[in-house]
């Protein structure tokens, strides 16, 4: 092949790639630069009484269909009766900064919102391959039986946060066991709490960089 024709073919190839990425636009992941807030949450397991008011509030606010949930409180029995106590563990999206779900998504439907650092799903883009559901080590994603898209906790980004309110679960908690805020804001409640109390993060060793902090309860033997 002579060089002129080769150049034309090369040009066509590059053109096709640019066209394809052009349509795809927006969510090219890789290094995500959070240019606004970095929202995170603390679950204070020492305050939680396991009433599940948060679960109900979430379902109502976000119109979550029956049979699925964005949020669960897992109770573990500690000690033997009659002295048995319960510890409570919040199972919901950790809004990881290095999320497995976003890394595997073939269409870019799973993404980190660069304004808030919240991990979210674009239902129009999702085709329902369930790769993200499999990839999430926290097992907090589900297939919405109504929209047929994958869904999960979005810190009420499209409901409460859009109205400048705290997430529904945080508002509903009678024991103030949930603290929500911006890690980039040094004067926020969440920053103050993190400075005061020792916290842990779940499955941190997987390298997912979760943003769900937990204050361990003083009941011994706490497991997930």
């Amino acid at each position: 092949m002579d060089s002129a024709r080769r150049k034309v073919l090369l040009g066509l190839g590059t053109g096709a790639i640019i066209a394809a990425t052009g349509i795809a636009n927006a969510n090219i992941i890789g290094t995500v630069i959070i240019d606004g807030q970095r929202y995170a949450m603390i679950h204070d397991e020492s305050k939680c009484i396991g009433c599940e008011a948060c679960v109900d509030a979430c379902k109502e606010t976000n119109n979550v269909p029956d049979g699925v949930t964005r949020l669960e409180i897992i109770r573990t029995k500690v000690g033997d009766s009659p002295d048995a106590e319960y510890s409570f563990f919040r199972k919901s999206c950790q809004h990881c900064e290095s999320p497995s779900c976003v890394q595997v998504c073939p269409t870019g439907a799973s993404f980190i919102d660069t304004k808030t650092g919240i991990v979210d799903v674009n239902p129009d883009r999702c085709v329902g391959c369930l790769y993200c559901v499999a990839a999430c080590p926290y097992k907090v994603r589900y297939l919405d039986p109504v929209t047929k898209s994958v869904d999960k906790c979005d810190f009420c980004r499209k409901t409460k946060l859009a109205k400048n309110e705290l997430p529904a679960c945080v508002q509903a908690c009678p024991k103030d066991a949930l603290i929500f805020g911006d890690l980039n804001d040094m004067s926020s409640d969440i920053r103050a709490q993190l400075n005061q109390k020792p916290t842990y993060k779940y499955k941190e060793y997987l390298g997912t960089k979760p943003k769900m902090f937990r204050i361990a309860s003083n009941k011994r033997g706490v497991v997930s």
Binding site: T21, A24, I28, V102, V127, G128, A135, P137, L143, K203
Partner: protein
């Protein structure tokens, strides 16, 4: 018994079901048969005879049809099958997605597969088309395209070999990037799936060529196919040992995952009976102990190849299901 079976196929951490195992299986067959076809062609001095070789014809048909079948299975298994076009349009939205790159690979692989088929079977394809329509312009177009492609037959073949190996390892990478499941998140998985894909591709091609194109033990390439099988099966065995040893002496979650998989579940039976006994020990034993006259019988050749196929399908099911039982 029913309860054990029910539990084996339905558990809370299970996300991907058996269609994905079939998807991995047919992609392996496609990759393996294409590698076999290219190998036979490479070692055959009489290049003119290639287009008449039952093994090469079977391998070409399997390579092209199985990758298409894999794509169909993938699309049907989506929760929104009608939105499958979004996977094509937005495939570069996440450049590092293994599944996204897999879609790119399918497209390129299919283009190269059809280009290769056209260069090798140019006359045969024309003959078939002319039975239905005899259009001079169409014939001329096909001939010109085939002639043009024939000028690049060497680069096409090398690219296709690389692409089919990539397709083989892709089936492993798809699962091995899942940090959530310790048994799947193993760096050895792509190699294991490449090896088992190769043996399934060879076996499927051998069966297909005997049944459909009445190939026999003296068909050119048949002895080559058999000579390839044993080292590949031995490789599979070594890779499985590496997987088991590596995980047994790995992190807590890995230790638990491999223990449940090969010792404490329904899938342990599938592993020891399906993967190890039917898929590895039986074919190896037959190769070493069967008499030469027996080895030349068609029924023997088909039987041995069937054992391998059952073993490979068992491996896909075992890895997929047992792999999702324990979470990191």
């Amino acid at each position: 018994m029913m309860e054990t079976l029910n539990h084996a196929f339905h558990f809370e951490t299970l996300v991907w079901h058996w269609p994905i195992a079939i998807y991995l299986f047919v992609l392996g067959v496609s990759s393996g048969s294409m590698c076999l076809a290219l190998t036979i062609k490479h070692f055959e001095p009489d290049k003119e005879s290639i287009s008449k070789n039952p093994l090469v014809i079977s391998a070409a048909i399997l390579a092209a049809s199985m990758v298409a079948l894999g794509l169909i299975i993938l699309v049907i298994d989506l929760s929104k099958p009608l939105d499958f076009w979004k996977v094509l349009v937005y495939q570069f939205a996440n450049p590092t997605s293994v599944m996204g790159r897999g879609v790119t690979l399918f497209i390129v692989y299919q283009v190269f597969t059809f280009a290769w088929i056209l260069t090798v079977f140019n006359k045969e394809i024309l003959a078939i088309i002319n039975k239905f329509i005899n259009n001079q312009t169409l014939n001329k177009f096909i001939n010109t395209t085939a002639d043009l492609l024939a000028r690049f037959s060497k680069p096409i073949e090398i690219s296709l070999l690389v692409l089919s190996i990539l397709l083989g390892v892709y089936t492993g990478f798809l699962l091995s990037v899942l940090v959530s499941y310790p048994l799947l998140n193993q760096p050895i998985l792509p190699l294991l799936f490449l090896a088992s894909g190769l043996s399934s591709g060879i076996s499927a091609t051998v069966i297909f060529s005997i049944i459909v194109f009445s190939a026999h033990s003296y068909t050119k390439g048949m002895s080559l196919s058999h000579r390839l099988e044993t080292p590949i099966v031995v490789c599979e065995l070594i890779l499985l040992m590496m997987l088991i040893f590596g995980m047994t002496f790995g992190l807590a979650a890995e230790q638990e995952a491999i223990r449940v998989a090969i010792a404490e579940s329904f899938w342990a039976y599938v592993f020891w009976i399906g993967v190890i006994f039917i898929g590895i020990i039986c074919p190896l034993a037959l190769t070493f102990f069967a008499s030469d006259t027996l080895k030349h019988q068609k029924s023997f050749i088909i039987g041995q190849a069937l054992l391998t196929l059952v073993g490979v399908m068992s491996l896909r099911m075992f890895i997929l299901y047992a792999g999702q039982m324990v979470i990191a």
